[in-house]
Amino acid sequence: MSSQVPSDLRYAKSHEWVRVNGDVATVGITDHAQHELTDVVFVELPAVGRVVKAGEGCSVVESVKTASDIYAPVSGEIVGVNAAVSANPALVNTAPFGDGWFLQIKLSNAAEVENLLTPEAYKAQIGA
């Protein structure tokens, strides 16, 4: 199954995507990740105001099959979470890069974004 990898995003090896707008990064999980999980039934989001380090677990996504940790791709303060995805977890399956986003991080070190995978590098990782 071929998965979408939008060209305007950056990616973590652990299958999160990042969209940077000013100093705020919006984070979700990739189309490839939602295909692997299928049937997302629960999303646990962090408290707004929490400060996370890149690589730190900051959410949990649960499919019928299993529970998986979501890691902060960049460091900073959680400044927003997606109440819609908490109320309707299936958005992760239907719109992983849109309404199915998880959280927003105010970047404490914008240079970290450059450490993330380019779309080409992520495509190579997942064999897309």
Binding site: D39, V64, A67
Partner: protein
């Protein structure tokens, strides 16, 4: 140790099945999605690879008496062509395995055992046979390698099963048609297609399953099972038949509270504690584990299986999560999932017997937080 593969392995690959390890076997967990496959079985029809399960023949004039001293249920109740669910227990009542036993002929019995327990069960059964007064009258065969099986389950299976197994049965239950088999009956068919190449291989078809739906389990020689699978998918089209993986098999059986060995049952858990006392026949005479099981039935039990559903929004309960009641940790979840039929978290677990009352309030601890749940009567899901 490398994983074992069933004769349907290449069929799973071709169908895009996602393969995982289960009990030492490489098995499909899903093809499309667990929820999709689950709902397909509840509303239409699904086919499952159950080739990994074990098959044992116990034959001869001593077979009935030997099985009755080794299993919990009473095989004397079985007429030719009938099957029953049973357990096999240790002296202390712990469960060695749970299984299905069929009487194929007056002196021929057929056991279907769990994949993860084949080696243990065969050693156990042979050891018991050596110790049995009936040993000279029993022939024992572990046929797990030469036989394979599929389960075809769901309300619309009746629309196409006759074109898979045409005509009357040739052994087991006398049946004019495969549709004439009643629940727990088994019959022999020697052809699974209509191309005139009969007589074909011997295929046993039983009206049994593990989903809570009507359906059939089909046991055939390993070399023909892929033909049965492919033919079923071809003719099953009329009943919207889909291939289904172990993920849906687990959610389906959890909704109807069927035990899975290693979860509800193990060597430290008895069928009485698991709520399966109906399948323990105390009036048939002596059998292994009888004294311990009888003492439990009369009140000497330490834990009791309960079914529960989450009453607040929560993550799905999962095996291993602690169960709390009145501010104390009182037990453990052994099976748990998000119910695709009810769209709520459900599970099975063990609690002290005094707490095992429908309507009782529990909490399930999930990642350090406790979420409200309520004990419900089994099965959790009942067909409308």
């Amino acid at each position: 140790m490398s994983l074992l593969r069933t004769p349907l392995y290449s069929a799973h690959q071709r169908l895009g099945g996602k393969l995982i390890e289960f009990g030492g076997w490489e098995m499909p967990v899903q093809y499309s999605s667990i929820v999709d496959e689950h709902l397909c079985v509840r509303r239409a029809a699904g086919i499952f690879d159950i080739c990994h399960m074990g098959e044992v023949f116990v034959t001869g004039p001593g077979a009935e008496a030997y099985l009755n001293e080794t299993l919990t249920n009473d095989v004397r109740k079985l007429a030719v062509g009938q099957g029953q669910y049973s357990q096999m227990c240790r002296e202390d009542g712990g469960t060695v395995d749970d299984l299905y036993v069929y009487r194929l002929a007056p002196l021929e019995f057929f056991l279907i055992i769990n994949a993860s327990r084949i080696a243990v069960d065969v050693a156990w059964l042979q050891e018991r046979l050596c110790a049995s007064a009936h040993r000279s009258g029993v022939i024992f065969e572990n046929a797990s390698d030469r036989l394979a099986a599929v389960a075809i389950q769901g309300p619309r299976v009746v629309e196409f099963i006759e074109s898979l197994f045409p005509g009357p049965s040739q052994a087991g239950t006398p049946a004019a048609s495969v549709l004439a088999l009643k629940k727990n009956e088994i019959g022999l068919w020697t052809s699974f297609n209509t191309d005139g190449t009969a007589p074909g291989p011997k295929i046993w078809v039983a009206r049994t399953g593990y989903t809570g739906e009507d359906g059939f389990e089909v046991v055939a020689p390993a070399e023909v099972i892929e033909g049965v699978w492919n033919r079923a998918l071809a003719v099953g089209h009329v009943g919207c038949l889909q291939p289904c993986g172990l993920g849906a098999r687990d959610t389906l059986r959890t909704e109807v509270c069927y035990p899975l060995y290693g979860h509800e049952l193990d060597e430290t858990t008895s069928p009485i504690e698991a709520g399966l006392g109906f399948f323990v026949s105390f009036d048939k005479g002596e059998f292994l584990g009888r004294a311990a099981l009888l003492a439990q039935k009369n009140g000497a039990w330490k834990k009791r299986s309960v079914a529960f559903r989450m009453t607040d929004k929560s993550p799905p309960p999962r095996p291993g999560y602690p169960i709390w009641a009145d501010g104390q940790a009182v037990g453990t979840v052994v099976s748990g999932t998000q119910s695709p039929s009810l769209n709520v978290g459900i599970g099975l677990g063990y609690v002290p017997p005094a707490l095992a009352v429908p309507g009782g309030k529990l909490e399930i601890e999930i990642r350090g937080r406790r979420f409200a749940a309520e004990i419900v009567k089994k099965p959790i899901y009942r067909k409308a």
